[in-house]
Amino acid sequence: MKVPSPRLRWYERIYLWEIARGMVVTMRHMIRNLFRQREMPTVQWPEEPKHLPVRIKGRHRLTVREDGSPKCVACYMCATACPARCIHIEAEESPEPTIEKVPKAFDIDMLRCVFCGYCVEACPEDAIRMDTGEVSIVSDNRDDFIFHMDFLLRGSGEEWKKKRGRPEPVEEDEDLSSPPDTPEETRDGYRRRERPPVPSSW
């Protein structure tokens, strides 16, 4: 298809007039911004905090049971769902009789992670969440980008909200706003079944 180019007038062809017209636009914005700095969309990050949406997917954290042990049962569902193959789990036998399988190691390679959130979707135990709000993961060393279990277990969404001085969201997401250590029954009406004690003869 042939697209006819517009016919230029003589003053358009010498460009000087057009350059001057362009500069008028630039100068108009510059002078206006000098007097209306508050309304400018630019954020002076990292000196100024960036106000992120409530549901933004930040770096992962592993949630804990009431006794502080990880909720994760090392079922590898997150590692299976992960399209970037960034989750590496090693499982082991749990010392507690009511829990069968626990993670020995749980590493996330943040250099491979694409922040898709499939791991959170896949988790049957609500053991992994991406509600820390930490989106800038910075280091000068590749090893630092591999987050180990002890680091992932630390912190919660709440801490981050305080630290970053995030204003109260207008519309609170019900699930995310509830503290992470609320007992299971009260949060979604789901009762965990209790296992019978293992006979001591075995």
Binding site: V73, T80, E92, E93, E100, K101, R193, V198
Partner: protein, 524 residues
């Protein structure tokens, strides 16, 4: 062969087969738990229901045998409804702990629910709980809640090993599998119960929690644990071998394999030789090849007949052939010997053989086997090339005798006592990392396939010897297995008329064995 009709299709079915086997041959799945071809018909799971013409009530397919004029249907609405109802009973007390169950991904209960169940649960009573994660033997873990009571494991211990450790105790929905007090499930074939178990009730303690099964890649291979050469599925993920599972071969191992064989893969995961070594220091591959060529050239100038090539019954037949040709044509020596100092295993009447080597018969076939490797080493010489054979490990005396050689070059898969004593070490690929064949004690040539890439700088013995020969001015022209086989099938009379393709999945007997069995058939 009787003519029968399955779902309106007329087929010729072999006499003596039951309807599960016939349907399987036609590509029709009849769900079942308790029937297994190796254990026979038990008829307790009641899941394999089919409609038989002329019979008012549904029949179990496992106990319906082929007879002339039989007409059955497996796909009627009534059958589908009945299967769903039977599955619902299986699920009544079955825990839904699939995410942490090692069987999930290869669980028949999961598969059947997805294909034939798909109902809404009607149970509003609490489930019956039983013992979980109980070690019933040194290698097997029991989860009684997950059990469907098909008794495959019980019948295996009764009928195949004859040890009878497992039993079902209690009645009704309190029934569960258990062992007799003080008699754990410790027979040398106990892990077959784990394969037989259609659900996650019996799991392997060794494999437990190591890897989810959907990450595993399966390759048809051969167990290198003993001279039986059980056919296996070799399962690995990202270069680490996680388990062996038996692969059916009626001529060799039927459906089973032994527990020792199943743990024989650890040697391919641990303390591997990954880079060439000179005096214990890592050197680049190109430098190592040059040094080996130099050493061969020097030894050849001085005393070619004194050079010894020590091979191993762990090597593939192709590697043995390649090494024999290399020794005779490049080194110019007749001292090509294969032998071993490894102690014999326990032998029994089911599968296990005393000879711990997968390819001793292959060495004998090529005329290089010696029972007295010690005196061969005693002679010494200017150069010894030891291939895939740890001489010094099982026999310190042999290690001392190695010192009689001026230079020792080890082409090794693992770092061991022999590589410590060698001046030059080059890594070679063990059997999971290359294509090849083993000849088992029956004289059956069996193919194994490359399951994973060779570790580090390792090369197959064939390729490494080809490169050394090329450096010394002779081009062997081997690129892959088929090239060596083309030569071998001509030069080794026992392998006449064979090719890797002709071997198929179950292997072929060597010529002398084939003729011997053919002769008996004619006489009979």
């Amino acid at each position: 062969m009787p003519k029968i009709t399955v779902n309106g299709v007329e087929v010729d079915a072999p006499d003596g087969q039951n309807l599960i086997q016939v349907a399987k041959g036609m590509g029709i799945e009849i769900p079942h738990f308790c029937y297994h071809p190796g254990l026979g018909v038990d008829g307790n799971c009641r899941l394999c229901l089919i409609e038989v013409e002329g019979t008012p009530k549904p029949q179990i397919a496992c106990n319906t045998f082929v007879r002339e004029g039989l007409s059955v249907r497996t796909d009627t609405d009534r059958i589908k409804e009945l299967r769903r109802a039977v599955l619902e009973f299986f699920f009544l007390n079955h825990p839904l702990d699939c995410p942490i169950c090692d069987q999930s991904g290869e669980c028949l209960l999961q598969d059947f629910y997805m294909r034939h169940g798909q109902y809404e649960s009607r149970l509003d009573l609490p489930k019956v709980h039983k013992r979980k994660a109980v070690p019933v033997g040194a290698r097997v873990t029991l989860d009684a809640e997950r059990c469907v009571l098909c008794t495959r494991c019980v019948r295996f211990c009764d009928d195949v090993t004859g040890t009878g450790e497992l039993r079902i105790v209690n009645r009704g929905h309190h029934s569960e599998i258990t062992v007799h007090p003080g008699r754990p499930l410790d027979n040398p074939y106990s892990l077959n119960t784990v394969d037989l178990c259609p659900v996650g009730a019996l799991t392997s303690s060794q494999f437990r929690f190591k890897c989810r099964v959907w990450f595993l890649e399966t390759t048809r291979s051969i167990c290198s644990g003993c001279s039986r050469g059980c056919n296996i599925h070799l399962e690995q993920s990202e270069g680490t071998i996680y388990r062996y599972r038996p692969r059916e071969n009626q001529e060799v191992n039927r459906w089973w394999m032994c527990d020792d064989g199943r743990s024989s893969f650890h040697v391919f995961n641990e303390s591997r030789c990954e880079a060439p070594l000179a005096g214990g220091e890592e050197i680049p591959h190109s430098e190592a090849i040059e040094k080996i060529i130099d050493a061969v050239r020097k030894a050849r100038e001085r005393d070619p007949a004194g050079i010894a090539m020590i091979l191993s019954p762990e090597m593939s037949t192709e590697s043995l052939y390649a090494a024999r040709k290399f020794a005779r044509e490049i080194l110019g020596t007749d001292r090509v010997r294969a032998g071993s100092f490894a102690p014999p295993f326990v032998e029994d009447e089911i599968l296990r053989k005393a000879d711990p080597h997968p390819n001793r018969r292959g060495c004998e076939m090529l005329g290089i086997w010696t029972d007295d490797l010690g005196s061969e080493l005693e002679r010494g010489g200017p150069l010894a090339i030891v291939v895939q054979n740890d001489l010094a490990g099982p026999s310190p005396e042999a290690g001392k005798r190695l010192e009689r050689f001026e230079t020792v070059i080890a082409l090794a898969t693992n770092l061991d006592e022999t590589t410590k004593r060698a001046a030059l070490v080059h890594p070679v690929a063990p059997h999971p990392e290359c294509d090849g064949t083993f000849v088992n004690f029956q004289g059956r040539v069996q193919r194994f396939r490359k399951a994973k890439p060779a570790l580090g700088d390792a090369l197959t013995v064939m390729e490494l010897l080809r490169r050394i020969a090329a450096g010394l001015g002779t081009e062997f022209g081997w690129v892959n297995l088929n090239h060596v086989w083309k030569e071998m099938a001509v030069e080794v009379p026992e392998l006449e008329g064979m090719s890797p393709t002709a071997l198929g999945d179950h292997g072929l007997p060597i010529r002398s064995v084939r003729e011997a069995s053919g002769a008996t058939v004619e006489k009979g």
